[in-house]
């Protein structure tokens, strides 16, 4: 690392999360990495700029773009493919995509909800965005989740509405639902989880530096399986840190999503 200031400034939790989300894309190859949210968007760029160079990424509108910048293109945007919403569904339904979505609620099998909160769907306590693309995404291509606030209100025994399909529901819905089903990971502000528990239940695989296993268990509203051993989420490499701080997110938007 050449920049002494960069070397001196400690790695933040947001930067650990960026790398943890980037790791979700490892091995994906030539598909559209479609991370939704600030930290996931930075993470998709990190993955492509380092260990997963064949990934394609969106500009957030109707194009897939080359280059490493995430939010602005000081030297001009380089479009490599025109991808309006119409063709996005061609991408989704042909399986050449890995999405990272948010979740207002998520259950032990990865059933996700961001449509509505409350017992009565006809008159919900809180109306959220709707089903969006979650039902289609989850049965067609790899899906991971990013949860910025790991808490028992998010990690619940049972979600109020199943928008994104989890492992148990996909298996029960038959081969057309399960054939391409691949809900992989959940990355939070505290930890990284997968679905390697019994019957594809959610499992803690690593805690971020400075977080204890007990903190994660306490912030989870259901019994959480644990990898043996539970690891510690890795730090960004010097190269990754330079990419994040100088090229992909020089304005520090990651801090607005997850303050230091």
């Amino acid at each position: 690392m050449s920049d002494p200031q960069l070397a001196a400034s400690p790695v933040t939790r947001a930067e650990v999360c960026v790398v943890a989300v980037a790791e979700c894309f490892r091995g994906d190859g030539e598909i559209v990495a479609n991370p939704i949210g600030t930290i996931p968007m930075i993470a998709g760029r990190v993955a492509r700029a380092s260990f997963e160079p064949d990934l394609m990424v969106t500009d957030g509108e109707a194009a897939l773009v080359a280059g490493n910048e995430a939010f602005a293109w000081p030297d001009g945007k380089v479009v490599e493919y025109y991808n309006p919403y119409r063709s996005m569904f061609d991408v989704v339904w042909s399986g050449r995509r890995h999405v990272v979505m948010g979740a207002t609620q998520i259950d032990p099998w990865g059933n996700q909800n961001f449509a509505a909160i409350g017992a009565d769907y006809r008159s919900p306590k809180t109306q959220l965005i709707g089903f969006r693309g979650a039902p289609g995404n989850t049965v067609n291509h790899p899906t991971s989740y990013w949860v910025v606030n790991h808490s028992p209100r998010v990690f619940v025994e049972e979600v109020d509405v199943v928008t994104g399909v989890g492992w148990n529901r996909a298996e029960a819905a038959g081969p057309a639902a399960f054939e391409f089903f691949d809900v992989r990971r959940v990355v939070t502000n505290l930890a990284v989880l997968d679905f390697g528990g019994e019957g594809h239940r959610m499992r803690l695989i690593s805690v971020h530096p400075g977080v204890t296993i007990q903190e994660v268990l306490d912030a989870t509203g259901f019994e959480l399986a644990q990898a043996d051993p539970v690891g510690e989420s890795r730090l960004p490499t010097p190269d990754e840190l330079r990419l994040i701080r100088e090229i992909i997110d020089p304005d520090g938007l990651r801090r607005a999503e997850l303050p230091d």
């Binding site: 006809r122 965005i129 693309g133 039902p135 989850t138 928008t163 057309a176």
Partner: protein
Amino acid sequence: MTSKVLLEDDVVAQLTDGMAIGIGGWGSRRKPMSIVRAIARSSLRNLTIVSFAGPDLGLLCATGKVARAFYPFASLDSIALEPHFRAARQAGLIEDVPWDEGMFLLGLQAAAWRVPFLPTRVGLGSDLLKHNPLLRTVRSPFDDAYELVAVPAFQLDAAICHLNRADEAGNATFLGPDLYFDDLFLRAAPTRRFVSVERVVPTAELAAEAGTELRLRVGRMMVDGVVERAGGALFTSCTPDYERDEGLQKEYAGSAKSPEAWAAFKQAWIDIPEQDFQTKVAAR
């Protein structure tokens, strides 16, 4: 060629209570807001709104026009959730018919192709099958025998979109990054298909305005009426003619916080002639 040019109120005059109206655009982008405002001022009621929804759905909820909402999401983009739609939902005032956003494409496409449904994996395992009474499952007649979701054709009584340019006959073009599903809305409705545009130009200039004939995606066989209204999408965006008016959108969103705030916003921005709306916006 006969001119199809008319005004917002002429569009409203062709609509009746209880109709299912498809509205083009996406979230808070390129929505036919001048016609939506005219509907909001009308005596129409009991409508089914079919939309990749933004302030079109919210405004019509707030003015009591909506009986049913067909939508995959409702968002103002820069403001994640649509506050007036939320208020209507949380008060249990409207019937909610939810869809996945790709499924919406299939419902429009099935209608445009005049088939009763299109099959998909989308919806399997999710609560769409529980909360949307129009969805069914169907078994593949081939050796796989897969059980799939049948997305029914959307039965639209009218379709309304806002594009950038059109000629008097109804050939129209978008100039921004994405047509969204406007062409499918206009094909899905068998009649009462309306586009508002920023500017009506002679047919001979349409391709030049578009920059390429690849953008001439709405043909006059898909359109029954053309409204010329500069600023017709405001406060939603209509790039490259203009970006979203974030200030006015914020005011609109904020007006959901109390009946008084809504009454004030409605009086200031909805219960006025469209020309006055445009003058006021331009003077901000």
